[in-house]
Symmetry: D2
Subunit: 296 residues, 4 copies
């Protein structure tokens, strides 16, 4: 498939590489052109603008930092949407708002193009390994058309429905559920540590019994060690995703008190100087509140 790949960050770069290796023809665009050029040796073209990148693409994949970047690169006058041919499918794989997803669906429809939302679960290591989990939603025919692409980047694709925002919502809800795991580990570890129980021993008991999902191990180790750097997924990004979730919940009319609690934790963590750390660093607030670790 001829793919215009836009956005070569920590996640986008390995995803693009896996597509090239799977035999797809890629034209790359990245705001900082140097990142795109490092792919040149691998026989991928580099475009100067989103518009030239998509000129003769069958599929456009965006893997950008957020709503604004997608708006600027795709929707703004003279950008990808205007330049793409009818029939092109835009696959939005980064975490964007439900509202923007809806707007993209409409806009591409008016241009006789197609839109599929396909955000992913997985950190850069899973992206490298082509083992991401793809949450897809959109017209079934278009999703089928994208399956070879998903297969090159991910280990499994889940179809959430025919309306693209369903996938964005599932992704945001999934991130929220991770934040609940972090908060529950944080409060538990504050309790056991202050009570004189070794945090690692406790974590082993949890992950060896009921809490076998790898996220419990991954985040549990960070929290047991109270060390959140280097950041796999930065705190400001986690805050952004929480904000998108709460916006979707507000629009839908759904109170989510646990999501609100996490919001205040993330906001507090930023206010207390943890903005450079992994988003799991809001766990430290539980330890601080309990006086288990000193405040800085």
């Amino acid at each position: 498939v001829k793919v215009a790949f836009i956005g070569l960050g920590k996640m986008g770069a390995p995803m693009a590489r896996n597509l090239i290796e799977a035999g797809h023809t890629l034209t790359l665009y990245n705001r900082t052109r140097a990142r795109a050029e490092s792919f040149a040796a691998q026989d991928a073209k580099v475009a100067d603008t989103p518009a030239t990148a998509v000129a003769d693409a069958e599929a456009i994949i965006t893997m950008l930092s957020g709503d604004r970047a997608v708006e600027e690169t795709v929707i703004a006058p003279g950008q990808a949407l205007e330049a793409a041919a009818p029939g092109t499918v835009h696959v939005s794989m980064s975490t964007i708002s439900v509202a923007l997803s809806r707007r993209l669906g409409t806009a591409h429809g008016q241009a006789r193009q197609h839109f599929v939302a396909a955000p992913v679960f997985g950190r850069p290591d899973l992206a490298e390994a082509g083992k991401l989990f793809v949450m897809a939603a959109g017209p079934h025919a278009q999703i089928d058309r994208c399956r070879p692409l998903f297969a090159a980047m991910g280990q499994k694709t889940f179809v959430l429905g025919a309306e693209p925002p369903a996938a964005n919502l599932a992704k945001l809800a999934g991130n929220f559920m991770i934040s609940a795991v972090i908060e529950s580990l944080a409060e538990s570890m504050a309790l056991v540590r202050k009570s004189g129980v070794d945090a690692s021993t406790f974590l082993e008991a949890l992950t060896g019994s009921l809490f076998t999902a790898p996220i419990y191990q991954g985040y549990g180790r960070m929290i047991a060690a109270d060390t959140y750097e280097p950041a796999g997924f930065g705190l400001p990004l986690g805050f952004k995703d929480n904000r998108l979730l709460l916006a979707a919940a507000e629009e839908a009319g759904v109170p989510m008190p646990l999501a609100s609690l996490v919001r205040d934790r993330l906001l507090g963590a930023l206010a207390q100087g943890l903005g450079e750390a992994d988003w799991a660093a809001f766990a430290r607030l539980s330890l601080r509140d309990a006086g288990v670790v000193p405040s800085d």
Copy 2:
């Protein structure tokens, strides 16, 4: 090992059976004698009182409904503690408070007996299968002495430390972490359902990707169907365990806002008539708050 087994409820009965089958010699006591007598065919003695049950036991296992039952059966004048011989080990396997665990440790010590706390994770089906997870804490020599017993009842034993309350705390914290899973699923499902996404499809995407631990499947199905009966673990028991957790947190001086949120959910669920349901029924409150399901 000669075991006095006290408490033959939904969990205790299959645990006792597995001990008998593993070749241990059991004397049984249950407040309602009939439940104990159903074991007679299996060559176990039945005692009339806790005191006679423990008379020549090497180990006493209690699997009772809560603190009060343990106090009445073990600590009260004329009960198990007074009747047991020096050197006997009491293994408390039900979920009791950290404070009572500490008190039992002291009381048995004064009687030159031993005390091991060994609460378990797992519902009756795991108890039947001898696949419980045992969270044990106490003097290492005593834990080693109990290993054949644990092996007959569980699939894995985790040692939390030399102080018995460590195991009770780990168990309470584990239950709290399950409650966080329930709340996060509840809020997420309220959101996706109200937004028109199928709850089961969403659940499949979660459990097939990052949330692979079986608890997500088990509770997720209940919540997706909004059906919480029959109760595997009743709501009042869940509320009791939450109360014990918050008491331990208060004693230790650890604020746990997520545990407080769950407390209010459980209290609300009881107030709204869900006391007969599984404890996961507090998930319905998220659906009600969002107007997704009507209130009764």
Copy 3:
């Protein structure tokens, strides 16, 4: 003073009337012209557009429903800001966001005009009586210039500082504090009612002792009677103000868990069909959660 008064709703109309009665010369603009024309007998001019309204005004007062209305009437091309003369002062008296207040300050400055933020506390009855409380912020000279206007509409003016957003923040924080009063009354009344204590007797004891501020009486009576209509200040407006507060808190980096709790209450009240009621209607959720009143 020659005043262009824009926005003649429940609050704006009596405020304008009081200005006219105090001898100021008013030109009125309201989107629905009929509302403005009802003032004609009182010797006030009616303008067709914001631009014509402000043409020779010394002061522009806006009392509009929210940010969008202010943007459309003041900032948009061809509207009040462009039409007003240098030296004119714009006094924004409705509840708008901190961000818009900042933007207005800059925009008026660039047009060599002045900007004062002066939102008010008080419901329509206080507006009628000219007894509003004015929270003002802006350059001191400009505030002094506006004092005769404030004196006609309010009983007291508080100066929060030289930066206009300070007043908007104070107003939003004040509304938040009212919401805290409502929530505390709601939880307390759910408790005493369910415990068999008469809610009105309890309220009398509160308001006769420590809680003497009239808001406790006003809201307390609504909640004791569980009756929130007719709406003095509608729930959607209350939700909007809470959202503006949380946005300001997010921008400033301040976690406000009680404001988050109120957010979820307001969102739940909207989801449960209380959108037509006074914003205090979120108190009903405490009664519902406790099973004191049935859900509809």
Copy 4:
């Protein structure tokens, strides 16, 4: 009236003095006898035990630190309840649990004595001035009998009902409502301070407009100055009252999320070393969370 007055702490001492000055005949008991003896000059008898204190009293007033002290002094074998004559009325004026109030009602009834719960609002300065607010509940005839006593100690008496626990509940709910005032002030002040608005100016605007009750002034000044010493009402006492409230709410089946939030604040304040301060010191946590003040 012949009164046995038990408990001469910061509150009890001035209350007893006011009774003496009003012409009542007092016999005093205090665990530390010296405190009682300082009254001797004022022509009051001092008793060695609660039992001798009540021997020929018509009314017994207890103003003790908590449930345990009341149990030990009144209910325990050989104490006040056994020693008092039939017909005596016990007036419990300190803040005790709803459960103990119920138990006292029953116990005094069995001894053909009477019980009135009459906790008070007001700090030591109001106690000195005889200006406390009395929340009374119990049989009407008994309350009438106590009115001369209440008149000597307080400025107003509110009758909550015929069941004594109603008064205890009202008192606990009132304290909870104060804690809501503190939390709302704390979050607001964190917001305005971090946004560059002067906290005292903001407070003046609040207390000069809608929030006229003196508690807003009193607590507002503490929080604006972030200074909570000397403690008028200590943090551990505030925590105890919050615990009693949550226990009453649990018994009644009423979720109180704002009370839970305050619980976690109080617990956090204790954990972070604020145990010597006034209970309003939990306000500092809002300032710390926002990074407005450093942690110690």
